[in-house]
């Protein structure tokens, strides 16, 4: 076992993937709890598709991928939140519209420039090799910002998630916190997207929260459990990805799925007892 770990950590790309992945898994789990409870899960999915479009665009123009996609996805987060707030039912459809359009535009750009190659496959489904040194620095910076803001605003985020109109009526600026959550989500999605894949990154947001809710009853325990679970699932996923040479994103999602089934079962048992 120790031999295996030594071998694993001997590869720079694995170390990079682990650092970025663990941080992204941690932050997305934090934000995911609020997003899932507020019925904003679709925003995460929409943002990752927009992120794919932005990456394709950056690649076609030979620009740095993260520096291009971060502002684009931030703008998209702003718009998507506005849409889903204005009318709940149509908002759902509007998000699907935007996300599929962004995906389609991305695919068109790619097919007209470089053609469908392994790079694109990696963007869609994630690659363990995706992280460069500067990506690691950027990811660490972004995740530290997210963590600090989340801890500072934890109580307010809870209040706004649980009951927006009460929070607003008693003087909490709920619009600001909604926007904060959406923008932080956008940042995390962009950072994690290339490793997890544009198609699969939203699972990092949705799965840990949903899984934890099967078993835990207080907001704090759900948040803590999500974070722990998310990090563990990510690490297991990446080891599987390394050992069996499977795509990183898919491996992590499968591990998350197994955890979800396990927790659901435990939840059922707990309710019966």
């Amino acid at each position: 076992m120790i031999e295996f770990l030594k071998e694993l950590l001997g590869y720079t790309f694995i170390v990079r993937a682990l650092i970025v992945g663990v941080l992204v898994a941690l932050c997305s789990a934090l934000l995911g709890v609020s997003l899932v409870l507020k019925r904003y899960s679709m925003i995460g999915d929409g943002l990752s598709h927009v992120g794919f479009g932005a990456l394709a665009f950056a690649m076609a123009l030979n620009l740095a991928p993260l520096q291009v996609s971060i502002p684009i996805v931030l703008i998209a987060a702003f718009l998507l939140l506005r849409i889903s707030e204005s009318s709940k039912i149509k908002g759902d459809a509007a998000i699907a519209l935007i996300s599929t359009s962004a995906l389609a535009i991305g695919v068109m750009i790619v097919s007209m420039t470089t053609g469908m190659n392994t790079d694109i496959c990696n963007y869609m489904f994630g690659s363990i090799l995706a992280m460069s040194k500067s990506d690691v620095y950027l990811s660490v910076a972004v995740t530290v910002i997210v963590l600090i803001l989340y801890v500072i605003f934890y109580n307010k985020i809870f209040a706004v998630t649980f009951d927006e109109s009460f929070a607003k009526a008693t003087g909490t600026k709920s619009g600001f916190y909604n926007m904060l959550i959406a923008l932080l989500t956008a940042l995390i999605i962009v950072v994690g997207m290339r490793m997890m894949g544009a198609m699969l990154i939203s699972s990092l947001i949705i799965f840990p929260a949903l899984t934890s809710m099967r078993l835990f009853n207080s907001f704090k325990s759900v948040v803590i459990s999500s974070v722990v679970l998310s990090v563990i699932c990510f690490c297991v996923g990446i080891v599987i990805s390394f050992v069996y040479s499977t795509p990183t994103g898919a491996s992590v999602v499968i591990v998350n799925l197994v955890a979800f089934c396990l927790f659901s079962l435990l939840g059922l048992i707990k309710n019966k007892v």
Binding site: L37, Y154, S165, F166, T170, F219, K220
Partner: protein
């Protein structure tokens, strides 16, 4: 001295106003019931008072009352039905308007939350999950949260919806007790009989005001007789 006045208030999301020309004024300790049919603009008026929606005309003035002295018991949302939060967390979130500069709750906030849990007799539920409680218990929790936020004014939006008559009666008693202790109450209600039983002032609206005055005056009006009769015939 009036602590709150509402002057010719109109609110409209579109061109036709939902709330039209409503005026009333309240003193400390008043108990106002707002009654009317579904869609008569009661909730919208309450949101206007709380500053959640913009007034299209008129003005609402508070005299010596700060925003962090007003509590609110909103109608339950779909999101809350399966929300993983324990009672302690929910009640404590009512204290958020007291320590707006600090990111965390102070010891004072926690004591205040505990006090309100005790006041509403739900201290034993503190560690329970909100989603596992009965409707009546959930309303008590939300009322405790509102009390954490409120010192002087409490706004309640149909607090007894979905409760059985016994629980509803208990909740009305609690609210009456608060009113006797000097809390100003504004309550929206479907239930006209309870409104005249517990309230001091009645505002009956149908978009525009049909009646505003004391309970005793209201009981003598033809609108009340028609409404009360209507309820009985149901």
């Amino acid at each position: 001295m009036d602590i709150m006045t509402c002057e010719k208030v109109s609110i409209g999301y579109t061109k036709t106003p939902v709330v039209k020309d409503i005026s009333f004024s309240l003193k400390q300790g008043d108990y106002l019931c707002i009654v009317g049919e579904n869609g008569s603009g009661k909730s919208t008026l309450m949101k206007g008072i709380l500053g959640l929606v913009k007034l299209s005309e008129g003005k609402i003035a508070f005299n010596g009352i700060k925003q962090n002295e007003i509590g609110y018991l909103p109608q339950q949302t779909v999101i809350q039905k399966d929300f993983p939060a324990n009672v302690g967390e929910v009640v404590l979130s009512g204290c958020l308007n007291r320590s707006s500069k600090l990111p965390f709750y102070t010891k004072k906030d926690k004591e205040r939350a505990l006090l309100n849990l005790k006041y509403l007799d739900i201290e034993n539920l503190r560690k329970k999950s909100y989603r596992d409680l009965s409707g009546g218990q959930q309303q008590r929790v939300l009322l405790a949260r509102a009390l954490c936020a409120a010192d002087r004014v409490l706004l309640l939006d149909e607090p007894v919806t979905g409760l059985d008559p016994m629980m509803a009666g208990e909740l009305y008693q609690i609210i009456k007790k608060l009113s006797k202790q000097g809390m100003t109450i504004i309550m929206i209600s479907h239930d006209i009989e309870s409104a005249v039983k517990y309230g001091d002032k009645i505002l009956h609206m149908q978009g525009e005001p049909l009646f505003y005055g004391s309970k005793d005056e209201y009981v003598a009006t033809p609108i009340y007789k028609q409404m009360a009769g209507g309820v009985r015939n149901d």
